[in-house]
Symmetry: C2
């Protein structure tokens, strides 16, 4: 249809000529550095007339910021990351910054590639939400000159600030609540972490020195803490390692029931998984919440769309995005910053209850 227009892009020089002043004056006026009112209006008029836009490349070269922030996420189309991105976009927009987003699609290789690509493009700063696989990130080296904030994980890079949810509290709150409802056989669907483990060796895996900073692991620790406070022992048969999507919920529920262990409650790594698990369990003839109380995680929009609606741990995902941008901007301005831990809370809905089917019958 139409070609890129070949109309000349106006420069400072042309504005200067039209206004009858020097480029320096134009630059100063446009940057609000003052000039005689008479001159100022003339310059402004000329700039408007020519539709002048400063060339950002040239400004950048003179040491000005690019006014942008990079954001690397595992998957932009996932509601969790969508909300995070929305927060980041909103906060960046307030500072007239633009956000450059890339998605690693959960793929470590792609992630490396994207980091590399980002480090080549020009960014004032970078927010990095690592894929939860692996623990060494040598490519971070590229960001020695660009401020970087880690989102969603804690304690990965010793000298970079982290913004993350209080996952330990999340696991603890959910478990504590289910215990208070009188449930004692609380199954736990654990998201991945490395080194990979199964439910058999999960206790050791959760204590090994190399297993520090996975959000699922922190939630598991919260779960353990609550059990301990209730003087209950961990039954590893109640634990299942699990993915993060709807189908994973179905599969994990299948695996759990196949184990023929007594279960009266279930904690899932997110609401999609919870929805999947509920679907499977109901198909098997179980009643939710009467037979099994199910708790999700994230307070995803779908948490109110399922039947029953989901009890869940709300993460302030948008807040994580906002805080990350805040931190990055502090770094950009040369301030030193601390980690930000974003609070979580328990949202009680209909997928959990103290009413047991057997106590009714």
């Amino acid at each position: 249809m139409k070609k890129r227009s070949n109309e000349r892009i106006p420069t400072l020089n042309e504005v200067a000529r039209l206004a009858g002043v020097s480029v320096a004056t134009v630059s100063r006026v446009l940057n609000g550095k003052g000039a005689r009112p008479e001159v100022e209006t003339r310059v402004l008029a000329a700039a408007k007339e020519l539709r002048y836009k400063p060339n950002p490349g040239a400004r950048f070269m003179k040491g000005k910021r690019a006014e942008n922030i990079g954001l690397l996420l595992p998957m932009i189309s996932h509601p969790f990351f969508g909300a995070l991105a929305e927060g980041a976009l909103e906060e960046a927009g307030k500072n007239d910054q633009v956000v450059v987003i890339a998605s690693s699609r959960g793929n470590r290789e792609l992630e490396k590639q994207k980091l590399e690509q980002f480090s080549r493009s020009f960014l004032d700063g970078m927010i990095y939400f690592p894929v939860e696989k692996g623990e060494t990130f040598p490519e971070i080296e590229h960001f020695r000159n660009i401020p970087l904030v880690v989102a969603g994980r804690r304690a990965i890079f010793p000298n970079k600030p982290h913004v993350y949810s209080d996952n330990l509290k999340g696991g603890y709150l959910a478990t504590k609540y289910l215990l208070r409802l009188g449930r004692e056989k609380i199954a736990f669907f654990a998201g991945f972490w490395t080194p990979p483990c199964t439910h058999k060796n999960i206790r050791e895996a959760s204590e090994g020195p190399s297993s520090g900073a996975f959000s699922s692991l922190d939630r598991f620790r919260g779960y353990l803490k609550a059990l301990e406070e209730a003087s209950l022992d961990l039954d590893t048969d109640l634990v299942t390692v699990c993915g993060y999507d709807f189908k994973s919920g179905i599969e994990a529920a299948k695996e759990l029931t196949a184990r023929m262990v007594n279960v009266d409650a279930l904690i899932c790594p997110n609401d999609l998984v919870a929805a999947g698990a509920i679907q499977f369990l109901e198909q098997q003839g179980m009643k939710i919440p009467e037979d099994i109380s199910v708790a999700g995680y994230d307070d995803d929009p779908i948490a109110v769309m399922t039947t029953p609606t989901l009890t869940t741990i709300r993460q302030q995902t948008t807040r994580i995005g906002i805080e990350s941008v805040g931190l990055i901007n502090s770094l950009i301005r040369g301030k030193t910053v601390d980690d930000v831990v974003v609070d979580v809370d328990l949202i009680i809905r209909n997928s959990t209850s103290h009413t047991r089917k057997d106590s009714l019958s």
Copy 2:
């Protein structure tokens, strides 16, 4: 002028000095323009040693592309736009391009502001998914020098290419299918368009000269076409103007039932709305699909999570993202391009059926 970090960022000059050649040679080697093998290895080694990265601002100033694409969406955290963005990111990544995303959060004012901001930052091209409000977009003027592709709407800007779903076909397919199931009182929840209208004057509104290019309107036309083919008249009481989220589905269903009109099927503007409508209708004691067959739109992930699972029109949202990037890149390379219409198809699940409750009783 502020330093970005206390470590010096290496320049071509320094690489040149270290390699014992001129900057021109370094530049040529780094751009693959050949040199003596001996020199080449020396330069490459020097560049690696200093961790040299070309300054993109300087390159840009010399007329090189920034290798990025802008993407303006109504809402990044919505699954529809998330999928679109995912497609765009993927395709752009293949060309080593980076995507700059902004969200207008459905707000026309914010949208204007973002367009303005984008036009100031430096982009090789821009993909614009307009908020479905209003029809005049004077701010598009800023993009006289930057290639622009319109996504999600058709025929808005006479000289810009558009990428959009075949909405007429979508509305038609859904209606046709419900008719084939024997449903004849098919309610239609219509997304917004301008000029604003109610169900009363919707027929005229769908035919007015100024109402050309709203996706909901196109779907409505598909609905009318199918009715016409079945020799059925439009009953405007079956039409309800509606938003796009879960709550809107509840509200629209409430409005519809309040009208006390006979309904045996329902077409929604997306799956969230369908889920909301189903929740409300079931609360009112209706059986889905026996009493009312409900069709959604989009084939959102939630379409398989609801009970019943949703019959829906699948839009190839990711494809729209991919195609948009393809078009933009053609424009950037100076080619002329045509609009791309992305196909839709009907996905049949459990929220629709020919079995009527009354035919069972």
